[in-house]
Symmetry: C2
Subunit: 513 residues, 2 copies
């Protein structure tokens, strides 16, 4: 697609400031912030901004010029207007639990922490909606809605801590998104501000809203288009009952094919998760969930609804799983047992921390029917890269989280782990999948974007970004790589994300329009 | 919002060609089309292009330079590439049933008729999806899905004739969209072409797709961003049973308030339509639906689902309606009776044609709680403008279709009808509503866009359009007015859409963020 040439203006300032210049700039920026915020809301001393130097992707760290902690919507708008006037980059930050570095500060920018906007504005039980400020924790919405028998469905693993604003920025998913959708399917309206500090309103409380429908494009845009401060979410009635089915398989490929068979039979379970044996062994040792350690892989399949619906669905699921070669089936007979089944899955990441000093969490998505192929490919990659990989993931929607185990104290291992990860992402793309399922691109997957998208596709994204933020001040250097970066990536040697001749060949064979 | 200044390049060529220049241009364009299409697929003689000179908004007519009738996806791409190479405007056209002139030809452009792409590619009963070409009729999808007990929910009145591609362009609604959503809620994926003839793919068969989510922004963009050729829609299981409740009210305001009360009680009927007495009288004379002609207004309320669900919902609906002051309630006791209840609503437009030589169909949307205010305001406007207005509309989602009756043979009447219509739209905006609910902006509501949106909002839309189509070749002069046009509109006298001081005052009192 031929593009508007002005998009190059979205490039952030290229030459870094030296120490003296930086100090002067910091003074200027802090002075501007103090004009619109109380002193308690502006941090700039090293010790004060250090807690903000990274998000959940701790491998990347950077201190910003200053951290702004507004307490009202108006202050958010005023901070943005002040930064725009000074042409300072702005990185919005929720709870800082993101896994792809989307909230990594900019060395010459302001980190706009939204952690103090934590008001639940309104819950409307008849309309089944909640209006909340962006800093409200994901789980706090469900807690507040519980008195009406309602809850907010998307449930990322970090839901105790992560904020709804961050969920919007990353289009967060979770265990239940197979049946109930991602953040984008559960948000009705967003109010916030543009980089100029002007009010931005997307979506509505009604079926549709006037003008272009940019709500879905905003959700998952990783802070590149604007800053959301008030979010209206859809609430759902809590299911009367939920039961969990635990299925064992003697081959990881069979487990993958079973997932495809379930969906192929027209069944949409409330959750459909997979763990391989190395993962169940690590977990079982930690939380004693009662997993079958003789299985090469297990599936956790959840059914929810009325007691009659659940009974019928569990029966259909069991039949499909048996046909698919399950060697053992257990159905939870009590809520306590159901929670025990899930306790293993929920503690998979900390359990991994117990068996390896470090791990790299990947976030590839692939078509479900390719699960077996991908799992076998990862088995092979363990030999190539000389590192172990354990698997736990949202199998139902093909969103994999291979955890590559390594020891960062041996520098060679980090490099090998990254090469391993890149090979997983390249393979995902070649199988018709995507480099990210729910964690976002951030800084972590910038190079992978060069594999996933062509120059013209990325140019289109940059043009869209420029329509909101022509100077490229919002979260520069994240999510969408500049064309020049992809040029360099492609010339990089084997370990990097460049398209190899083999990958080019594989991509050519994909079904295309 | 500060905008990319390059958007002015989206302006279509301003100076019209004279007759000789036009003939030369036509020859050039036809020659280019004949290089990529068979002779049977290129029309340019006056008698051949005349059937394409308008869509359902017959007040505007224009013959294009040529009409292209591609028969394959590849031909659509080739036509676009050819037009792009010659910098010729392109107006895509589905079945031509649109009511806002979105498919009105461009005098110096090509009309790209998609009427020959009518293949139902695939129905997947387990995934509950259908993949269809853009020229497939809306109703043909449900007909093809019926063997699996499935159907496509959005049902515009023109569903026998209108195409799914046109539905996508206008984000079509219908009687059932209150419960089942508009086109945007029922389309999963779009494949098509950019103005350069490059492949465009938005959405996916999965929960989400990589990159920016532009599917929702594309749906309803009235042919300004690209041309969709293949559409994947969601299918729903046909409800086991449906029943219709007919409620009479002795005051139109009470009927409006009853609608708000139903939704306020947490009930979402499958359909919730209102007709006022002048409308029921016209209809009853035509189809004998059995309406209560003593009522100032009637509501048609549909419930669908399992027999138990419907019985429970009908009981709750009846209770709310009685409390809201209904003077009579009838519930359909058979499918034949239900269809007879609906026959009046479905024939409202032809029935209006029998009582008035001409009518103007408006398409304003307002918050449901403002229905009574709006209906009383329209009663008053009949006096001011000396014309009658009958009302039939989707009350449940606040989408009104006032039909202004006039006689075009008396030129003064058309002008008065337009002034009446403009007053309705201005009032809708001042009540917090929108100038269009489901018919789109097209050419009809360009001036009204100046009332609904500020300069900076329209500039944002133009920048977004420019990211897809920098030269402004796709359907120029539609949907988004140029800033200069709104400048002129605002200076125009009373009858036009300019914001009057009274309206400005009313807008100021609206709850704002």
């Amino acid at each position: 697609m031929q593009m508007d040439t002005s998009v190059t203006s979205a490039t952030p300032p290229a030459v870094p400031l030296d120490a003296t210049q930086r100090a002067a700039r910091q003074q200027e920026v802090v002075a501007a912030l103090l004009k619109v915020l109380p002193a308690r809301s502006v941090l700039w001393r090293d010790e004060a901004v250090t807690p903000f130097e990274c998000d959940g992707l701790t491998a990347y760290r950077q201190r910003p010029l200053a951290v702004a902690l507004p307490e009202t919507h108006e202050q958010v708008g005023a901070v943005l207007a002040a930064c725009h006037a000074l042409q300072v980059p702005v990185v919005a930050r929720g709870a800082g639990t993101g896994l792809s570095g989307g909230a990594l500060p900019h060395a010459e920018g302001v980190t706009l922490s939204l952690a103090r906007l934590t008001r639940i504005v309104r819950i409307d039980p008849l309309a089944r909606t909640a209006v909340v400020e962006c800093g409200v924790r994901n789980l706090a919405i469900s807690e507040a809605a519980a008195q009406h028998g309602l809850y907010y469905a998307p449930d990322p693993s970090s839901q105790i801590a992560c904020s709804i604003g961050g969920n919007v920025a990353e289009n967060a998913g979770g265990v239940h998104c197979l049946k109930y959708g991602l953040t984008v399917h559960n948000v009705l309206r967003i109010r916030g501000f543009t980089i100029e500090g002007e009010v931005l309103e997307l979506g509505s409380g009604a079926l549709d809203s006037p003008g272009l429908d940019l709500l879905a494009a905003f959700i998952g845009s990783e802070g590149l288009l604007g800053v959301a401060t008030e979010i209206t979410v859809r609430l759902l009635p809590k299911p009367q009952v939920a039961r969990c089915l635990l299925a064992s398989f003697d081959d990881i490929g069979k487990a993958g094919d079973a997932v495809a068979a379930i969906i192929g039979a027209g069944l949409i379970p409330a959750g459909l998760e997979m763990m391989d044996r190395p993962m169940t062994v690590a977990v079982e040792d930690f939380v004693h969930a009662g997993y079958d350690l003789s299985a090469a892989a297990i599936l956790l399949v959840e059914s929810d609804g009325s007691p009659e619906e659940v009974e019928e669905e569990i029966a259909r699921l069991a039949a499909v799983l048996q046909t698919a070669g399950a060697t053992r089936l257990d159905v939870s007979e009590s809520e306590a047992q159901r929670l025990r089944f899930w306790s293993g899955r929920k503690n998979a990441f900390p359990a991994t921390g117990r068996i390896s000093p470090d791990y790299l969490c990947m976030d590839a998505s692939i078509p479900r029917k390719q699960l077996a192929t991908m799992l076998h490919a990862i088995e092979g990659m363990q030999q190539t890269h000389g590192l172990r990989c354990v698997n736990v993931f949202h199998a139902g929607d093909g969103n994999m989280h291979p955890l590559i185990l390594f020891n960062a104290n041996e520098p060679d291992q980090l490099k090998r782990a990254e090469a391993f990860g890149n090979e997983i992402l390249r393979t995902a793309v070649s199988l018709g999948g995507s480099i990210t399922g729910e964690h976002g691109v951030g800084v972590e997957k910038l190079d992978a974007m060069c594999v996933q998208f062509t120059d013209s596709e990325r140019q289109q994204m940059l043009a869209f970004k420029a329509a909101f933020d022509p100077q490229g001040l919002l979260n520069p250097g994240k999510a969408i790589p500049m064309l020049s970066r992809c040029g360099e990536t492609r010339q990089a040697p084997g370990g990097a994300m460049g398209r190899t001749p083999a990958l080019e060949a594989a991509l050519k064979d994909l079904p295309r329009y």
